[in-house]
Every structure is written in structure tokens, then in C-alpha cells.
């Protein structure tokens, strides 16, 4: 059957007039198509990617610079969220990657995480609903200076710390940012030697990168349901606290939610992730971002240690980026869904008596117009 030219043109006219242009949709999809999420990217490409994702998905993504590194670079996050039709206060999920410079799979995951949400929220009702209730703040790279340093040459690849200047009488750069947070700072699992890889700095929050996170998140603490900080390696899900003698009040729930996440992760590619506190399954430590988040009252706080278990450690092959990110996404989503449903009474949808047409609704309306029109064209015998 052939459509007449008139039918096609009329249909296109209607489609354009319904407010839908292919421009922003195409650009949004284009941003996710052009960028290769299965490769490691240097920092300038990650900054560019953040701009592209924001520009291509303005209804979902906005960005913010919330601090500067020791060397003066922007610490940037992407905020993912949809308009809440009732203008209700949204709850917050925090995800950060790249506190430790050499853990390249972590920033790769944060990028993957954003891509996955951008690509699927329009066809995933549950995700769309959660984004109406939640704002998800994603920082792809916290330790920008350290990350850039690991790209400088072959001998810098395994750098871990920030790049702050050596203290007096030392020649060693950098602080272990994940020992610098204000959470039992300096008590256990740290070094006061500035040359050590677990050097905790001169005082809690002495490092601008750690301070930036603490200042920004503290302003939203009451709305924050969940704090996820992404690292490698070891295939672990760590819950607070790093101090062997301190337990979180909701320890049992943290364990069961963590174990549910590990089970979801295993379903994807069969990989085992062990769940427990750091003193149980790794080593005691203090001053971690995870502990700080729990201490200020964020009820769910986890460190994800992604692949692998020591064969490649931090030098995880690019061929493993996709499977590692797929399983990590399943785990993160499991926790986010749990905390969302807990806060929103099992996720009963917000009042959808729509007063403002979101992009999604507009698209559906346009498609309805199009398919109705097609039906009319067909039945009216306009087709030859």
C-alpha cells in the first residue's frame, strides 16, 4: 500500500505543530551515541561530556560547580531529576566517583550511570516516577587533580591521593581524600606521614575536595536518602562504620539492603560482591566519606568497591568496563529503589493531574495524534 504524498505531509505538519521537534530528542540521543562509554576518558573529555549531556537533556539534567580542587579546577556534578508536578520538595540521592585517582572504573561508572538513566527513563515508568520524586546528584570525578595526574604518563597511573602541596619538611604530595572527612578523623587505618598513601591530611576537611563535598551535602542532609561513593577494587559493598567499635543504628537494615544489592549484581554477570563493614571485610579506617555521610544522618551510605579481585586491580581492562558498569548499575538502582519506596510509601505515584506538560507527556500526545491520523488515513481509503 502506498501513502499519498498529501497524507504524509499533513501528518508531518500535525506532528511538528504538536510541539515535538526531533531536535532536542535527537540531540539527547546523539549525546549518548557519540560518546564511547566502554573506554576510559581523560578529564577534558569528561568535562565536555557533562556539558553535552546537560545541553542534550535539559528537562532531566542540570549541572553545578560546587567547589575547586587544590590546583583550582572545577568540581562539577550533574543533577538528574524531572519536574515534580505538585512542586513538592524532592528527596536527594548522592553518587560520587573518583575520590581515588587510580580507580578509573569508578568515573567510568558514574558516566555509565548517567547514560543509563538518560537512555531509559522515558520508557521505564518506575524510573521516571522516581525521578519525579528524587534528584540524583552525580559527581563523575571528585579528585580531578589526581585523576589528571594519572593520565600524565605511564609512571603516574597508580597515583591515589589528591595533589596538594607537600607539608613543610616533606617532599610528598597529596592527601588520601577518603581519610580526610570529618568522621572519627585520624583514629584508625590512617597515616600521619605525608608520604603514605593513607595520609589523612592536617585536619578533618583540610582538603578542598573533601570540604566541597561536606559543605554541599550538609546543606541538603535533611532531604538526602542515600549516599553512594564509588571506588575500586575488591568487589565489596561496604557499610558504615570504618571504626571497629562503632555500629550504625540501622546496621541490620544496611546489611539487608546491601545484600539485596549484591544479589542483583550477581544476577547480571555472576560476580560475587561481599557485603559488610570495612573492619569486617577489608580493614578498619576512619575519615571516609561514607562514614561522614552516615554520621551526619543520611540513613543509607555505602562504598561500592567495583571489579576486580586483584588480577588487574586498578588497571581494569576496557573490555570489562561494560560488564562492571552493568552490574554496578543494578546494585545502585536496587538501593535507590529501596530508599525511594521507603520514603514515598511504596512509590504510590505523585498526583499526575498534569498541569504542566512534561516532555514525555508531550511526546505521547504527539504519537497519539500521529497514530490516530494514520488510522484515519487508512480507513478513509486515502491509501492507494
Amino acid at each position: 500500500m502506498k501513502m499519498t504524498l498529501e497524507c504524509w505531509m499533513l501528518g508531518l505538519f500535525l506532528l511538528i505543530n504538536s510541539g515535538l521537534t526531533s531536535h532536542s530528542l535527537g540531540e539527547g540521543l546523539q549525546s549518548t551515541w557519540r560518546y564511547d562509554y566502554t573506554k576510559y576518558h581523560p578529564m577534558d573529555e569528561i568535562y565536555g561530556w557533562m556539558e553535552d549531556v546537560e545541553r542534550g537533556n535539559p528537562e532531566l539534567v542540570s549541572s553545578a560547580v560546587y567547589g575547586h580542587t587544590y590546583e583550582g579546577r572545577n568540581i562539577t556534578l550533574l543533577k538528574l531529576g524531572l519536574e515534580n508536578s505538585e512542586g513538592r520538595e524532592k528527596k536527594v540521592i548522592w553518587v560520587d566517583c573518583g575520590i581515588h585517582a587510580r580507580e578509573w572504573i569508578a568515573p567510568a561508572f558514574c558516566q555509565w550511570f548517567v547514560k543509563q538513566i538518560v537512555d531509559t527513563y522515558k520508557s521505564n515508568k518506575k524510573l521516571e516516577q522516581m525521578l519525579q520524586n528524587l534528584d540524583i546528584y552525580v559527581t563523575p570525578v571528585i579528585n580531578v587533580d589526581g585523576y589528571i595526574f594519572t593520565w600524565a604518563n605511564d609512571s603516574t597511573r597508580l597515583w591515589r591521593k589528591s595533589r596538594s602541596a607537600p607539608p613543610p619538611e616533606s617532599s610528598c604530595y597529596g592527601v588520601d581524600l577518603n581519610r580526610n572527612f570529618n568522621a572519627n578523623w585520624g583514629m584508625v587505618g590512617v597515616s600521619f606521614d605525608s608520604c603514605a598513601n593513607t595520609y589523612c591530611g592536617t585536619s578533618p576537611g583540610s582538603e578542598p575536595e573533601a570540604k566541597a563535598v561536606m559543605d554541599f551535602v550538609a546543606r541538603m542532609v535533611k532531604q538526602t536518602l542515600c549516599f553512594l561513593t564509588i571506588h575500586s577494587a575488591g568487589q565489596l559493598i561496604l557499610l558504615p562504620y570504618g571504626h571497629p567499635e562503632i555500629s550504625a543504628p540501622n546496621y541490620n537494615e544496611l546489611v539487608s539492603v546491601g545484600q539485596a544489592a549484591a544479589e542483583e549484581m550477581k544476577k547480571v554477570h555472576g560476580m560475587n560482591y561481599t557485603v559488610g563493614t570495612s573492619p569486617q571485610i577489608l580493614y578498619p579506617n576512619s575519615g571516609s566519606s561514607r562514614d561522614w555521610a552516615r554520621l551526619i544522618g543520611i540513613p543509607f551510605s555505602y562504598t561500592f568497591e567495583l571489579r576486580d579481585k586483584g588480577e588487574f586491580s586498578h588497571l581494569l581492562p576496557e573490555e570489562q568496563i561494560q560488564p562492571a558498569c552493568e552490574e554496578a548499575y543494578a546494585g545502585a538502582l536496587s538501593i535507590i529503589t529501596y530508599v525511594h519506596d521507603k520514603a514515598f510509601n511504596n512509590g504510590t505515584p505523585p498526583n499526575t493531574a498534569v498541569t504542566v506538560m512534561g516532555f514525555t507527556s508531550l511526546f505521547r500526545v504527539a504519537m497519539t495524534i500521529w497514530s490516530t491520523f494514520m488510522a484515519v488515513c487508512l480507513t478513509a481509503g486515502v491509501l492507494v
Binding site: 571485610i281 588480577e311 588487574f312
Partner: protein
């Protein structure tokens, strides 16, 4: 220190089990055979009279190349005392299944015996990539590292080889291929990267031997920030 029945997922059993991995690699490893700790099934720890701590473990290890897993029973003794001494390990595995690596080993041996010209660096590279022809030398580096990791292990360490920084082949001697390796080890608890230089010999019949080993100091003032504009 944890004593009695151990939680197999907790770090005391995991660290002791890792020592067994290092031991098995020193005994049975080759360019085509590298073992990795797969799982700890059960563990027990006790103080030993006079000094030291003994672990009894049931574990599984996996051959990285064939991906076969084996069950092993092992005992690890960490000697006590002022001076840090190497742990003693005894292990018996189901049937350290001889997946026949003889042919591959012989081929590699012949190829490099007559023309000792191997030179490689950064295995794996920053992207985790290893050239397939270089993989046997990455494996050989992992096996050689196991001698050091075994010697250096305590209840407070967890070692993995992070990278072969470079490997140079030396002249063949006594029918053994010989190599100079510069290896980076990762120690989990301190998060340190430790540099070692090793002289390694290998042949299919002779197995892997470490002839010389030397820890290299970590050169802090070498880390001046490059021009990172």
C-alpha cells in the same frame, strides 16, 4: 586477633588464604599457569605456643588461564616474634589438574631460547591492555612476584601484583631462560605500591625460580607534577 572459627568472608581468613595463592604459584606456576584465590569456604585460627598464629583453611583457587577451579586444604603459619619472618604454608589440592601446558611452554621456550630478545613494558598498560604475545610474560611476572609476596606476607597485609613495569631478557644460562623484571606490587592495607627488581629463570622442566630480588626505594621527589595544562 580473630581466633577459633573464622568468618570466611572476613579479612583474617581472606588474607591468610591469599598467602596460599602465593605459595601455590611459587610451586606450580608457569607462563601458562597462574592461580588465583577464588573463594574461602571455611577457616580456623589459633595461637601457637611460644609465638605465631596458625590458620587452617578450606579454599578454592582458580587457574586464570584454563579457568578451572580446584579445592585445597591448607595450613598457614605466621611466625611471631620481633623480626618479621615469612609465613610457612602447607597445601594439598584435589588434583592440581595438569591441563596440558607442556606444548605451549615448550613452544615459548624454544622461541625465546635461540633469540633472547624479549623487551616489554607496562603489562598491563594504563587501559588494562596486554598484547596477547606478551601475556605469558605477564603470567611469568605474576608467578615470580609470588615468591616476594609469599615472603613479605603477614596477617596485616594483602598483596597483589599491580603491573610488570618492564621485563628484559638476559642471555640464556644453563638452558634456563633468564629475565630482569621490574614489578609493582599493590599492598591493600597500606594501599602502597612497592617496587621490586627480580632476576628470574624459567624453563619447562626447571620451573620458575627467582635468582635475585631487591626492593627499590620509592622515589618521592621524582613525582614533581608534570606540565598538566
Amino acid at each position: 586477633m580473630a581466633t577459633g572459627k573464622l568468618n570466611p568472608n572476613h579479612y583474617p581468613a581472606q588474607r591468610a588464604a591469599k598467602v596460599v595463592q602465593h605459595y601455590l604459584n611459587t610451586r606450580y606456576g608457569s607462563p601458562y599457569r597462574v592461580f588465583f584465590l577464588h573463594r574461602v569456604h571455611s577457616g580456623n585460627a589459633e595461637d601457637v605456643a611460644d609465638s605465631g598464629r596458625k590458620y587452617q583453611l578450606e579454599i578454592s583457587v582458580q587457574d586464570l588461564i584454563s579457568t578451572n577451579t580446584e579445592k585445597c586444604s591448607a595450613e598457614v603459619l605466621f611466625p611471631g616474634g620481633e623480626q618479621q619472618r615469612s609465613p610457612h604454608v602447607q597445601a594439598s589440592c584435589e588434583e592440581l589438574r595438569k591441563i596440558d601446558t607442556k606444548a605451549q611452554e615448550e613452544a615459548l621456550y624454544q622461541q625465546y631460547k635461540t633469540n633472547p630478545s624479549l623487551l616489554a613494558a607496562h603489562l598491563p598498560d594504563s587501559y588494562g591492555h596486554i598484547n596477547p604475545e606478551m601475556k605469558p610474560f605477564w603470567h611469568l611476572g605474576a608467578v615470580a612476584s609470588s615468591f616476594i609476596m609469599l615472603n613479605e606476607s603477614t596477617e596485616n597485609t594483602l598483596f597483589n601484583m599491580a603491573q610488570v613495569a618492564n621485563v628484559t631478557q638476559l642471555a640464556t644460562e644453563n638452558d634456563q631462560l633468564r629475565f630482569d623484571y621490574h614489578i609493582l606490587l599493590h599492598e591493600m592495607v597500606s594501599q602502597d605500591i612497592i617496587h621490586w627488581k627480580l632476576q628470574v629463570s624459567w624453563s619447562p622442566s626447571g620451573g620458575v625460580k627467582v635468582l635475585q630480588m631487591e626492593q627499590l626505594p620509592h622515589c618521592h621527589h621524582c613525582e614533581k607534577p608534570p606540565n598538566t595544562n
